[in-house]
């Protein structure tokens, strides 16, 4: 597969340029992510896209997986193990690497719902006490600091996360500071 060989070459080149001390272990770590998150980290359900994700968010989530504070069935099944052996530097490098990849829209939702979704995202539903997503996640879902990028994530992942919040599986849905 020429494409894969090219990707590996790019990865090795990137790690070399980004961090001269980055070894093949770094490349291996990225490849381990790609098995589930897709070749360009643009997501492969149930694994969400990591391309262009906020680096602080990725780092924080990896820490949460390691501490088992992000506790969902898929976390237990995949990410607890995947994050177990990452040291602080690997976490930082992975987060910066994924942040540097271009985002790609999954566009896998029901097209007829896009209009309503846009309204809820931008305006919320004040009568039903639902806040507008845009206030924290930004006008294009790009996120900021450790607030995650939502733009381009596949609809099944976002739906699952929102449902997990709803049933209380994810604690601290409210901004603490």
């Amino acid at each position: 597969m020429r494409g894969n060989r090219l990707k590996s070459a790019v990865l090795i080149a990137f790690c070399w340029i980004y961090h001269p001390a980055a070894s093949y272990a770094e490349v291996l770590a990225v490849r381990n992510c790609n098995w589930c998150h897709g070749g360009s980290a643009s997501g492969y359900p149930p694994a969400p896209a990591l391309a262009a994700q906020r680096p602080q968010y990725v780092a924080k989530q990896l820490a949460n997986f390691r501490a088992h504070t992000r506790d969902t069935p898929f976390s237990r099944q995949y990410m607890w193990g995947a994050a177990r052996n990452l040291d602080a530097e690997s976490v930082r490098n992975l987060a910066l690497y994924f942040a540097s990849l271009p985002p790609r829209a999954a566009s896998d939702g029901v097209p007829s719902l896009v209009g309503l979704g846009q309204t809820i995202y931008q305006q919320g539903m004040p009568e039903a006490n639902i806040v507008a997503c845009v206030v924290c996640h930004g006008p294009n879902g790009e996120g900021i600091r450790d607030i995650p990028r939502l733009g381009g994530l596949d609809s099944t992942y976002l739906r699952r996360r929102l449902e997990q919040w709803k049933i209380g599986r994810i604690r601290l849905p409210k901004p603490r500071s």
Binding site: Q123, G124, P126, N129, V131, C136, K174
Partner: protein, 248 residues
């Protein structure tokens, strides 16, 4: 509101039942048990919403929780994509006036325009009283080295460029009064954004002049670094004596 609540509760109950295989059997159309479960869900939903009608506190609590989804669990403010201001300890009259300002296009903010439309006067009273009673510590995050300069501007003003002391109107402890807002503990980035964009955000409706006109020349006279200094100073202020402010 109440009908919406009962609808939501009905939907939640159905979803909860669907989550379990046994519940799915219950819900199967045509099944007598399913019918009974439906009736039960309906009665339960009705009972809950009837209680809301009597006390009204459920609605207020839900709305407070909604406000805090953005403004922070203790209404201490939150840095989202946009800075979301602290409401804790804020003057009730100020919040009430600002909510009206969104509706009357005196203050531009698409999100809060919609939010303000969903609030009845009774709800606004309940919300403002609640926020005035809160007193969490400031969230911090401002550059410390600016605080001393900020304090000087806040307390003494800059007579040479005709800037009065902020304390003259906002109070020595920056707790505000009436329509003049509390600034103590306000978010640093929110203060920056507000002072740097004063005329783009406030006093926008020439047919309804308001107190925003008082701040307009002040915001213009302050340069960027002076704004940063004042913002840094007020963002560090805690309420004196452990009470948010005097509510008149």
């Amino acid at each position: 509101m109440c009908s919406l609540n009962s609808r939501q509760i009905g939907r939640t109950t159905r979803r909860a039942l669907l989550a379990f295989p046994a519940g799915r059997v219950l819900i199967n159309a045509g099944s007598r048990v399913g019918f009974a479960a439906g009736i039960l869900a309906f009665v339960l939903a009705g009972a809950v919403s009837a209680q809301h009608r009597i006390t009204g506190s459920g609605d207020v609590q839900a709305k407070i929780s909604y406000c805090k989804d953005c403004h922070g669990v203790s209404a201490q403010g939150f840095n989202g994509y946009y800075p979301i201001p602290r409401l804790a300890g804020q003057q009730p009259e100020y919040i009430e006036n600002q909510l009206r300002a969104f509706i009357e296009h005196r203050r531009t903010n698409n999100i809060m325009f919609n939010v303000a439309h969903s609030l009845s006067p009774a709800m606004i009273n309940a919300l403002t009283a609640h926020f005035a009673s809160l007193n969490p510590p400031p969230i911090g995050g401002a550059p410390r080295q600016l605080v001393a300069t900020g304090r000087k501007i806040f307390e003494d003003g800059m007579p040479e460029v005709n800037i009065a002391a902020c304390a003259a109107c906002h109070g020595p402890e920056a707790t505000g009064s009436g329509q003049i807002p509390r600034l103590a503990g306000q978010l640093y980035p929110y203060m920056l954004k507000t002072l740097n964009n004063w005329d783009k955000e406030r006093g926008r409706n020439p047919t309804v002049p308001d107190a925003a006109a008082i701040m307009s020349p002040v915001a213009h006279s302050l340069n960027r670094s002076q704004i940063e200094a004042v913002a840094a100073f007020v963002s560090t202020l805690r309420s004196p004596r452990g009470t948010p402010n005097t509510v008149q």
